[in-house]
């Protein structure tokens, strides 16, 4: 199944729609909480192998925080969002490490590309303490956590796979938990730079369950990995697909469809149209023109949320 999204709650929606499910997917639990300032928290839990196969994501917790507005916030509203992010991260942290155990924060992605820079932007603002704890422990409370933070770069610029860089450092400095921040693909334009997914299952680029080699996961690194992802773009193919689905849907509503079209929609099979529209070798995304500023605003909220949770 082609989800074209990294967000667990969107995959759940796609799966249920594709299979015409009214009830919950077997092996999945999901709950939604509406908070003040129109903030929504969605908690998807993948319970077993059945859930893993349905969503093609690993067993564990996936929490999504959706924020309607992130620019020009009052101090108060900003604090509210940071608190919510912090609380959700803290809940996952407490499942995996003690209060004073060392954490390494990793900002993934290419800091030179605006659509891929969120990881490095967040890390720029993380308050590190590991060196103080090591060399000047008198400046920290005794039970304060050692925190370090790196940006490993991307393979196209370093020649090294991210996992190779991170594994080398993890093996050498031995933190007890990793927090990895990355840009994600979403299916929803409204979520770009306005949604945060927090999970405790690591990051598997490409997202496959079987593909455990290259991801930043407990299997590959030997320590638990909390992944924080922020959608920065929607694939152009998603927009084309959705347009055609809505189009046929409307024809159906108006009884102007025909058998051929109905079948086409069922099969989600618009590849020829996408090929005609989207030149090969292009990595095309749909993004707001103001993504640069939205990303700055979001990076501040997430980094402060992480700082507070640690």
């Amino acid at each position: 199944m082609l989800f074209r999204t990294d967000m667990a709650d969107e995959r759940r929606d796609v799966y249920r729609k594709a299979n015409n499910l009214e009830e919950e997917i077997n092996g999945i639990e999901c709950e939604t909480e509406e908070l003040q300032d129109k903030i929504r928290v969605t908690r998807v839990k993948i319970l077993d192998e059945n859930g893993e196969q349905a969503l093609n994501k690993k067993k564990g917790n996936y929490i999504t925080i959706d924020v309607k507005k992130i620019t020009n916030l009052s101090d108060e509203k900003q604090e509210n969002i940071i608190n919510i992010i912090s609380k959700e991260i803290k809940n996952l942290l407490n499942l995996h490490v003690k209060e004073d155990e060392e954490v390494l924060v990793v900002g993934l992605g290419n800091g030179n590309l605006v659509a891929d820079a969120l990881g490095t932007k967040v890390v720029d603002n993380i308050e590190v303490t590991r060196h103080i704890k090591k060399y000047c422990p008198e400046y920290l409370a005794e039970d304060e956590r050692a925190i370090s933070a790196i940006t490993p770069g991307v393979m196209g610029l370093t020649g090294i796979e991210t996992i190779e860089v991170v594994k080398g450092i993890v093996d050498n400095i031995k933190p007890k938990l990793l927090i990895a921040i990355d840009s994600l693909a979403s299916r929803s334009i409204e979520r770009i730079s306005k949604s945060i997914q927090i999970s405790d299952t690591g990051i598997v680029p490409g997202g496959g369950v079987g593909n455990t080699q290259k991801g930043l996961t407990e299997e590959s690194l030997g320590i638990p990995v909390i992944a924080i992802g922020i959608p920065t773009a929607v694939e152009t193919a998603v927009i084309v697909n959705d347009a055609l689905d809505i189009f046929i849907g409307k024809l159906q509503d108006e009884a102007r469809s025909n058998e051929y079209l109905n079948k086409l929609k069922e099969e989600d099979n618009y590849n020829e149209i996408k090929e005609a529209l989207i030149p090969q070798n292009y990595n095309l995304i749909v993004t707001p023109k103001e993504i640069d500023e939205l990303a700055d605003d979001m990076a501040l909220l997430v980094s402060e949320g992480i700082n507070m949770s640690l």
Copy 2:
């Protein structure tokens, strides 16, 4: 007619297709030249009011240079592109000013947004001479042109319309010609950061013929304006539109369309679908993920082309 592109040659295509024209549009001339390294130069000339109304652009010359590849070029290929750009600019310059007359280069757009930064990037690399000519003329050849360059910013950040800033400076320093560089919208993904449109008709934001108030044009500024535009994005609505057109086209080819669909396509009337897909208040664009690097490469070529032509 909704062109959804700032490129004169694309408007010509759209107009001819919409009107099922085989021959040239009345009031338009067009020629295409294929050069080495797969570089194509298209020259659209709008001759009269009829041409103006057809393309909703002002009378004058519109030259488009399409380059297949702009990254990782050899020095030689890079020089070739710069030479071609320079020659086309020079041709237009010679129509309007003498070799030693003063030119002001203006980089439009918001330098903080990657999809809008091309104007300011180009200006950063312009070799200015006006202050040398004024204060240390002994360092310049006697007939060398005075060149100055500014980035007026965008109204959302300055509170001032671009024309107000530029008119104030033009009235005060009195150059004989303006070169304005701006980011453009194209209908073609393959042209993003790989195409340059050079015209001698000024820049009219929104592109309407009647709308002469706000544009940077000879009417508003009192001096000729050469506009250099580079496509940095395609409107998302264009992608949706084209997808639906291709879709119905395919149904028609396969004799699976019906009267209703045929009419729909004729009318280019997919607004409901676009509204369902694209949230209002969003300024959504389709762009390559690597637009940051493509824009840097393109800005270098264009600025060197301008420097050489001056």
Copy 3:
């Protein structure tokens, strides 16, 4: 007299020391206020021609705010500094314009050089309203002030003198007052990026009283000019000079000086040493290694202070 500083209070100190004055300089008033968080406000008032000649600065108010610490401030301390800056600017504003009269903010300097970027950094954060007041007045309170903001660049990059750019825009959009922000030279390393000078006499590059042509002043622009300056560097010659003065001073204290040295110190005449040390054609400055970060912190405080005052 060579002051080697743009700060009025430092010039007053230099003048009094050079002339062994115990009492106040004729034509000058000065008062100092110590506020909480070790913030000091110094108010130098140049009353007449005598004061002008002593300090080689124009008649008017020069307020300096010194802040001990500007990085990693608590929200509360940050707010305190912003309030103080805002209050001082507001006092000067009220001397020259009404509450609802239009103001243009101008960020001077070269945004690409860290030691010269403060003006442009501050302007990036100014809340402009002029375009809203002009096109959507319903979104502003009726008596709200129109505010605009520009960065005219530097002559080396634009080919145009700053005054030419600013005068053109002022003549065209007709604000009632200008606020100009610039980087300054100080004599004190401790003031780098930690001090703000606010004056209502405009900015005269080079600082001479007679030199009224090129400055941004009421004379040249026709409207009052509030200048906000922040020291970002100390000239290397100042360090050399001060080192030699302290050195001879110490010799004198220890009765190891001689007539020759005493005379040398009197005359402040170390040019040969400076020539031997400092290569010509170099624009050398002494600056903290962390000037990039200090400048960001300071720009935020000043821009918020301006926003609040307007």
Copy 4:
């Protein structure tokens, strides 16, 4: 001995002057070559423990390339400099690895501070091949070297010592040689961003011979380390010191010195003056105002030199 410089040839000068040596230092060899375009290459070789102790640097080769002009170079002159840099790096490479053995390039320093950003700027422009050799070897010549490149950041921002990051990655990906690029302190203002030191002894922050723990050296990493350093600043204390030395020197020349001053100069003992001038907790540097642009120009030359040598 306090050298206040990281450049081996400057240390040699300081040592010889301090010890009034006419002949070469025991355990040191030095030769100088003058090339076209006023480029000078100085080769200091530390032969044994005696040389190590004299210069407080490790045994090995230290080559310094001095370039008079690095901005606005013609293509030809630029190529000439790149060739010279490349040749010197290649000579050292050939002493330690075979033509096809893997190399890791490491850009040290804080990319956010202009005076410390040269390492990261150079790495941004390194052509990496390791991932191609690993995953698409068909795109590389068979004997082409695998090259990778990282920027480990600084401890103040990561919480991790540079050696810990680099050692982790080296142990994991096992290159055969490391090239480390860093900003250096020089004693000469004229060398700022115009000189390159290339050595095969690694980088020992603080430069001590005994201090082998924390440096990036063959001892700590297990592979040879070529260090490429570029001066970006002079310590302010050096300027003060040199000013006082020149001052007393002049007094001596004019027979106006006295025994006390002569002794003072001998002992290089101006600490009180430096303390009075330079506030503690300040990391003050002397640097050209245009260091941002000089650093960009230099980074390009060095990165191209490295690319060509590899």
